[in-house]
Symmetry: C2
DNA sequence: CATTGTGAACGCCTTCACAGCC
DNA sequence: GGCTGTGAAGGCGTTCACAATG
């Protein structure tokens, strides 16, 4: 197989790949062998043109007149996302959110393995969560980080930058931040933010400004 | 005050407003009276041109040579986001995530009031969370919904669409979905999704494809 | 004949750069 | 002099529409 040279995949496409992946998994589990771009689009909540353009960035995997082979395409998408490799997840901050994440990761996607949990609260340290003991944050530095280790920040905003620095120090490849704070990382460590308050306030804006809503399937 | 006619605010700008709002709150709490676009940009993790363009969509609130009055701008942003009104939040699915959300909302932004919690688990029904009793999902329909009520879906993906339908039925103005599922709403109800698996897999993609990373402040 | 892959057109956000103002 | 507001330029993703294909 000839690996094409450095095809650039637009970020919006990258963000949709996990959604296609899930849709394809469901189709596959349902015994569906083939999908058209229109069907996949429907399952993913986008339009067909977008699906075809997105998938064309990965390669030429479709068959005109027929569609895409579900299992084959699923494999390609999973490979592109790196899901055919093992990933380690460490969570810092074991409040309710930390617990929720520790559970949900096992659910949503295999190949993401929670390997360590940290907190500063002496009451929580030592607690066993699905077979993993919560350690004190000070023990984080003794963890051997790799680029395929992802750090999850689920602590209060006030300590988020400190935790972030520690994770970078350890050598994680990426950080997923749930704390409502703008973090800075110098190194090549990747950072993504998930912010509940932002989502809630964004919804509030559109409720207050209904005329600003851009209908996905609005009347033209 | 003359309300300008239907200025359209781009969605990327809308999503940044909550971030500016938080940055401004912190500046205000720190006793800072004035900010330049460069300083606000720094606090929000974007560039100065974007801040100025974003704020110009709200109105002409800056003073050349000086910057923006922190408290005044904060008030304008909060008004635009509808944060000077009261919002009600109902959460369906009181696992760890539901609990985490029930807590975090009080923290991050005032004027969002959690008013009801629901679950189907008989063990959880009746439990008291910060003074609010968890009710059975079947009682959801007896709730009087308004457009300023936001429904939060924190239940498993399998029941997410059902819960979504019930929330629409009740008459909420918007829905924030944390379940890994593509939901459909017919009515003018707003919908936003937050998906941990998508975030994790997106990070994984960029770890596997470092050349695809678009550095925010990369070397030109 | 149904459906893909894609060049081209379109629209929109970002960035630039500077006139204007304090 | 410092900084805002904005028209213009540039870049990028989405959508269109159709030739190509099994």
């Amino acid at each position: 197989m000839v690996e094409r040279f450095a095809r650039r995949i637009p970020e919006p496409t990258v963000v949709r790949l996990p959604i296609y992946q899930r849709a394809l998994r469901e189709l596959s589990a349902g015994g569906i062998a083939t999908v058209s771009s229109a069907e996949l689009a429907d399952a993913a909540g986008v339009n067909a043109a977008k699906v075809r353009k997105d998938l064309s960035h990965l390669g030429t995997y479709g068959t005109p007149g027929t569609g895409y082979d579900v299992n084959f395409l699923l494999g390609q998408v999973r490979h592109e996302l790196g899901l055919d490799r093992e990933w380690q997840v460490v969570i810092v901050g074991m409040g309710n959110l930390g617990h929720a994440l520790a559970h949900s990761q096992r659910f949503s996607t295999q190949n993401f393995h929670t390997v360590a949990l940290f907190d500063v609260d002496p009451v929580k340290v030592g607690e066993d969560v699905d077979g993993i003991k919560i350690c004190h944050l000070s023990e984080l530095s003794s963890l051997g980080g790799t680029s395929r280790m992802i750090g999850v920040i689920a602590c209060p905003a006030t300590s988020a930058q400190d935790v972030c620095n520690r994770l970078v120090q350890v050598g994680v490849g990426a950080i997923l931040n749930f704390a409502p704070a703008i973090l800075t990382v110098n190194s090549p460590v990747l950072l993504r933010n998930v912010d509940f308050a932002v989502e809630l306030q964004t919804l509030a804006f559109y409720v207050v400004h209904p005329e600003a809503v851009s209908g996905p399937e609005g009347t033209p």
